[in-house]
């Protein structure tokens, strides 16, 4: 709780929060539009390193906004350690959820692609006219 701050300091924090969140949002949208090729003609980051850098920046900015909202708007910065940890530690489970489910999603896509390939595969008909397969020659079998 903001028991440590004067009223003037509290109001200053609100103004700072508004400026910070607004500025980060504008920067985020600008970078997203730049990466998608809407800002400068011929400049886009849709593949390779530039694309990964753009995605990492988006995630980093969003995490910072989340940190600011939780710690200053929701006063988490002024709560006792036990409360902070009991709220924040469980959310680290999400790190594994993200890794596991994104990998799972990638596997679904790979499997679907494989099935599509197999469906489109042209199977060559067997040559020679007679069915061959894995049968051994007729003489091999015991004829009683």
């Amino acid at each position: 709780m903001a028991g440590h701050q004067t009223y003037e300091e509290q109001k200053a924090l609100v103004f700072k929060g508004l400026m910070l969140l607004g500025a980060i949002t504008i920067v985020e949208v600008f970078i997203a539009l730049l990466a998608k090729g809407h800002m400068i003609h011929g400049v886009e980051f849709k593949h390779g390193f530039g694309h990964y850098l753009y995605m990492a920046l988006m995630v980093a900015f969003s995490l910072y906004k989340a940190y600011f909202i939780v710690f200053y708007f929701m006063h988490m910065a002024y709560e006792v350690r036990g409360l902070v940890l009991s709220v924040l530690l469980p959310t680290t489970l999400l790190i594994w959820a993200i890794i596991a489910f994104f990998q799972e999603g990638g596997a679904w896509g790979a499997r679907r692609e494989l099935i599509k390939q197999k469906n489109e595969e042209v199977v060559q008909p067997a040559t020679g006219g007679k069915p061959t397969g894995y049968l051994l020659p007729g003489t091999t079998y015991f004829k009683g």
């Binding site: 709780m1 903001a2 028991g3 009223y7 509290q10 109001k11 924090l13 609100v14 929060g17 508004l18 969140l21 607004g22 949002t25 504008i26 985020e28 949208v29 997203a32 539009l33 998608k36 809407h38 849709k46 995605m55 988006m58 995630v59 969003s62 906004k65 989340a66 909202i69 939780v70 708007f73 929701m74 002024y78 709560e79 006792v80 036990g82 409360l83 009991s86 709220v87 469980p90 959310t91 999400l94 959820a97 993200i98 489910f101 994104f102 799972e104 999603g105 990638g106 596997a107 679904w108 896509g109 679907r112 692609e113």
Partner: protein, 291 residues
Amino acid sequence: MADTSVTHAHETHDEVNDAQLWEGGTPPMRASYGKLMMWYFLVSDAFTFAGFLIAYGALRFSMPTWPEPDFVFASFPFVKAHWPLVFVTVMTFILIFSSVTMVRAVQEGHRENSRGVVFWMFLTILGGASFLGCQAYEWTTLIAAENMTVSQNPFGRHIADGVYLNADGSEAKNDDGSAKTFKNGESYLLHKHEGKFDVPTLRYTSGPYAGQTAQAEFGPKAFGALFFFITGFHGFHVFSGVLFLTIIMLNAAGGLYASRKNGYEMVEKIGLYWHFVDLVWVFVFLVFYLL
């Protein structure tokens, strides 16, 4: 139990050490029961939203193509232009403003200033209602004008370079006489014509299907379901937040919380919820619109 340790626990913040905590009488989290339970409710709600957003990621990763947000979310009220992401940025700003006014309401509550609480909460409610109005516009455009539903997504992307064909199989031409071509990864929207989707025929000129004729396909249909469920679930949080804010504002105006003499703690609790709604929007904005 001393009454000061419950209602104004934060003021004794620095004076209580661990040994004294074990003596009892001081809540270990130094927060009231209601506030603590609001935090834990928000933790559980965060997991619900995380589950939805992770499902979005998993399904997106499983598809060879996915609609581009800057193509899908480009309409703006009263303007017939392609303005990618501008409208959702406006929505984001509305939520940021309403979060800021909520902080002010909580601060005035700590000062036991009833008029301030009601004034800033009223602005917060206006922000929440404006956000809902924007979302109604966004949904209406997608459903009524662009024909997206939970089970149908007309926003697709080409998987290779190619050219559009006329009904007789000849190459379609633009108005200036050049061939009507498309590039790999280019977005398109299938339009409805007299109640039926107008699905263009095309021929690929690159990639594994080069030379083959095909029909343009619908985009991954999970996109529509995910969009309406996730933004709908968030919108429902905003809606219920507006309802609770209204009830609490009326109670504050009626002097109920002043008589409790606990620094308008109810305003603080609904404030936590309201900031959480803004927090979730940060990630909905990231996942649906920025990436």
